[in-house]
Amino acid sequence: MAYTAEISRSNPSCFIFLLDQSASMLDEITEGELVRRKADIVADALNRLLRELAIKCAKEGGVRDYFHVAVIGYGVRVGSLFEGELSGRDLVPLSQVAKYPARVEERMKKVPDGAGGLVEQPTKFPVWVEPVGNHGTPMVEALRQATVLANTFLATNENCFPPVVLNLTDGQSTDGDPRPAAEALRELASTDGNVLLFNLHVSSEGGKPTVFPGASADLNDEYARTLFSMSSPLPPHMRAYAAQQGIAVDDTSRGFVYNADMITIVQFLDIGTRATDLR
């Protein structure tokens, strides 16, 4: 059965994040009373995804290398966004990613107070990527680089849980139609299944936020329809987990979200018994 490979240090998987840093990402989106630039939204989303991934794999003694991670930006250039110790590197073991963020902020976070309420507590929040927006949107080249990285990883990890590629963008590719490059990426496979390409779409077109839509989705934005068509179908165990989280999914659901959060994909990945509270 596909997408059931063990994810472990001896059989790691990989995550490749593609971050749109083009000029259009400086456009603003109004969410209720909140106005934010698209660049801020995707940089924040990516930093939170990396943070969640590290926390998920953290044990006493450090973060376990269940995943290798690449963060590729595309705008003025296409290449790794890692800074400092990791500068210029592409696929990096997760423990190194956790050890070397560009900086660590302290933010206030609401946490359960143990008595049914919430209390604000200072929490360390690592930052790997900053919001950037200029130049065009070479999404095709970014997908090609992801294909090279996934192919390299698969060459030495042929039985792995397939690499997951997450593209965070407003969808306006300026170096051609991204669909053929996306298809070439999705065609790569380990013995456990094809590479998974997911897309997180931020748009100033408005409309209802959408999470893991299926064939019947009413996407009124041209770029949303393109990104939806590029996205992999959600494997059955991910659909089951999404349903447990109260997300409406069916067997045509794809790894695509529109103006919404995708932090759940970290929880989709099975590295052992989940630490969850009784319900």
């Binding site: 953290a58 044990k59 052992g272």
Partner: protein, 262 residues
Amino acid sequence: MRAFISTFAVAKAGSTDQEYEDASDVRPAAGDDTEVTGPWLAAAVADGASEAMLAGHWARHLTTTFTAAPAGHDLASTILAAAAGWDAVEAEYRHARDEAGEPIAWYEEDGLRRGAYATLVGAHLLDGPTDRQGPLLVAALGDACLFQVRDDKLITAFPIDDPDEFDSLPGLAPSRPLDPAKIGEHVVALATEWRQGDQLLLASDALAQWFLAQARAGGTPWRTLSDLGTDAEIGGFAALVDGCRANGSLKNDDTTLLRIDL
């Protein structure tokens, strides 16, 4: 009663023995391969959740709290008693890290704040009118299991009797319960009887699932586990685990068996 205790443990392949996060405990303290005699016996197996910090510490804390509790003590209360001691366990760990010059990193803070999680199955055996049979009180939270074998037949499988019911979301005993009342809703208990000659097998989930699958296919996995001999021959258990992992019948996970031969 007279009981002969054997415990077997193998860490997940790819992990070191120090990373093993199951736990087992027996009272009166039996030592390795020791015959225990007396009017009561308490035994427990716990399995720390892989995604939690200090899961092995919590599993050990749970099993020792269980075996120290009086027979018939409500399991939810036992778990809450263990949870009440968790801050001290965590403080000791933080102190040890500071002493070692390795303070807690940002990625560990969330997990430590959330606490650890583990499944647990425990049993109390009491003498009845004679020392050859008596009450067997079993309680569990999650998918660690107890099996009772009598006259070469599996007569009790608790709390799970179907190998298809195991997944990565079992009920878990929390070290920092957000809603203590929920624990009582998920704990299950069974009161039955032990007899001299019975065999009780307490197992963490991977072995329990393997055991039930073998039994459903018409096999006699209890004979396989009986043939393992004693702790001194733990190589036999490791070989069994390796072989079953290799043929795909046993999930790669920490694997623990506590065997009580009555």
